[in-house]
Subunit: 224 residues, 4 copies
Amino acid sequence: MPAKKLIKEENLSKSAQRRQREREHRYQTILTAAEKLFATEGYHKSSMEQIANASEVSVGAVYFYFKNKEDLIIQLLDEIGYVLRSTLGNAFKKHGPTMEGFKQAGYAFFEDFCVNYPEKCAIIFRESVGNSPELEGRRKKLFEKCTGDVRSALLSVCENQGLKFKGQYSAEVIAVSIMGIYERVAYQYLFWQDASNDIRLIGRDAVGFITGGVNYLLNEISCT
Amino acid sequence: MPAKKLIKEENLSKSAQRRQREREHRYQTILTAAEKLFATEGYHKSSMEQIANASEVSVGAVYFYFKNKEDLIIQLLDEIGYVLRSTLGNAFKKHGPTMEGFKQAGYAFFEDFCVNYPEKCAIIFRESVGNSPELEGRRKKLFEKCTGDVRSALLSVCENQGLKFKGQYSAEVIAVSIMGIYERVAYQYLFWQDASNDIRLIGRDAVGFITGGVNYLLNEISCT
Amino acid sequence: MPAKKLIKEENLSKSAQRRQREREHRYQTILTAAEKLFATEGYHKSSMEQIANASEVSVGAVYFYFKNKEDLIIQLLDEIGYVLRSTLGNAFKKHGPTMEGFKQAGYAFFEDFCVNYPEKCAIIFRESVGNSPELEGRRKKLFEKCTGDVRSALLSVCENQGLKFKGQYSAEVIAVSIMGIYERVAYQYLFWQDASNDIRLIGRDAVGFITGGVNYLLNEISCT
Amino acid sequence: MPAKKLIKEENLSKSAQRRQREREHRYQTILTAAEKLFATEGYHKSSMEQIANASEVSVGAVYFYFKNKEDLIIQLLDEIGYVLRSTLGNAFKKHGPTMEGFKQAGYAFFEDFCVNYPEKCAIIFRESVGNSPELEGRRKKLFEKCTGDVRSALLSVCENQGLKFKGQYSAEVIAVSIMGIYERVAYQYLFWQDASNDIRLIGRDAVGFITGGVNYLLNEISCT
DNA sequence: TATGAATGAGAGTTCATTCAT
DNA sequence: TATGAATGAACTCTCATTCAT
């Protein structure tokens, strides 16, 4: 959201409404241009001037909409987090709290998120790593939300099946591990090899691995 | 290794031998100082002057031993890669190509590498991410070597047990997945939470998860 | 006064009269907000946007009433000059062209102007110093008027008492010196020490010093 | 003094001695160039690039010797303070703690300091006014030292003559007043009128005024 | 070999001013 | 009249790299 807070449309005059729409639009334009640049050129290699040029606005306009360069990537991260969690969450919900739903969420990550938003992948898994403390804090929060989602899903599946995790920390560690698999497999086959075509099979294997691991850690070893 | 190649000690005069030793020593001093700085302050926030100060040499001396700043982190990465692969490889070899060896390698990662070299973890998993193309290429190579190690280990264990992976890409994808688990679990519990004390249990859980996943992907489902 | 010149009220329609009043009011609102901001934050640290916000108008509106930022402080200086000269002039006139009137003007400076308008003091003695040539020119004119006032007062007191200054440049130099005393004593005890409470005694001492100096430079040394 | 502290010459090698001398020299070159630029163009109008060009060094070099732009004017202020206090102090000491010494110090201000260092006057009385809090703090300290000097001189003269000030705060207020006279008379006749030629007479008048005021405030009114 | 002063391109950021609405 | 988004020049500051000594 732009620096200036948005106001409910109904409380505004026609012209103010138009301005507000334009503002939101331009905000998105800049954000999208930045996403592309960060993903292709790298966060540090992209200057604010380049971002301005790519968005076809002046440098000053970028600063009108975003506090500073860091703010740009933070907003990007927030948006990406939203898309990622929605994608996985929706896939999971479609099948209820079942192992199948869990798998489908995994497939959605590879076949939907990675394929449709490779640039968002680049931001979240590469460009936002190891920068400022503020940004790192945001990344941490985002990953913790995702881990939390995975953990909840896991536990609801278990409960649904009347199963329990072995050990104490398990559920969380497993969730973190699963995020790790998603992250690195995406990194490897999206950025390092160009295996976009094989991503379906790769995803199946990775998800199979995850499923196996999960089952192993449940009291009963019933691999569906 | 310094720009000037090293020569076998026996072919050198006494004083030349001493100089050579001093050179190697200074090289290491700088590298260690850089490692610490990069890990604590961040790669981008650490200036060459800071590195020089921390190593108690001049800026010029740093440039005598290393081509440029990028070279520093590349050398660091090489060294870290060596330590990491040795640690895991040795743990694995001790037990022959067995599932037990595989587990021990996993434990070694968490209980040896992560615990003894948190700074190396920071470099390899955080500070070297998403910088220059050259560095990214090195990172790719290093991860591919590790993945290759894991894959080989996996296959040798299989062969030894007369088992086979399901599917086609499996072995490699599984290896990448395992590296992903190592990476993210380390990142989460080393940098984001300070769970150094619980790292043993955490590692056990993660390795358990890995083992389970591996077994699942083998024809026979025998979880040891 | 606003860019658009004011027209005599009687020649205007009712609604035009209202608009004109509003205009004058808004003009003053902005000027007052700017005075406060300049005095507390500093001229250079206060942005036009801040001034607009503080006056509860838009940036554009500020530019409607004032040519530019410099114009703001110039108008302020004019207004301050008017208040300052009135304050001193009135105090002096009350007592006729006598040494007593002269003293009273001095007391008025410390006990009236400084105490009631510390922000005006900040503008005239601090914030308007050493900026643009145009502003410096205005400052010069203002100080020359004040100096002129003091000089006239001095001379009228002399004439009234049948006295004459020693030397040639005297009257003007003395006037400048007196202004210097006013300025620096105000600066010291208003901005650097917070001696608002003691300002009366401080003013008495300063005026005593002035009176003594003046008497010394008159042919007869009669300290009243 | 440069950022890097200076070391006693005797503890350095020949070449290090030379480097140190060069460093001090360049430091002064930059400072002098900045003084001139600030005095003629104004502090805010002088960019670091201009200063670098005027000193015939690179921008980076300026930052090697000075922390930032503010540091430049602060160092300048310190130096100016030293020169000013020496000039006045020496003149006073030559004549012992007498009224004559006091006068001579005044003459020295106008005929020595103002005439020989008009640029230092511009910095101390114009360009350093109303900038950052840090700078303002330095200015305050400098003026307090000067005021303290004047006050001490005043008191020693009194003591010497067996006289006493009337009132309570007097000595300090008088000292501040005297500084105000110096400041504004210099400002008026140096920057606003070009009365360099008449400065001698002007100074005499101003000092006469001061002397008169001082005498008035002493118990006995004996104007020497 | 070693030093550290010097370079200068390049970055992020600010803000007085303009102008379409 | 009034708005406030947009402009873009200008500024301060950083820092990897070089090179005379």
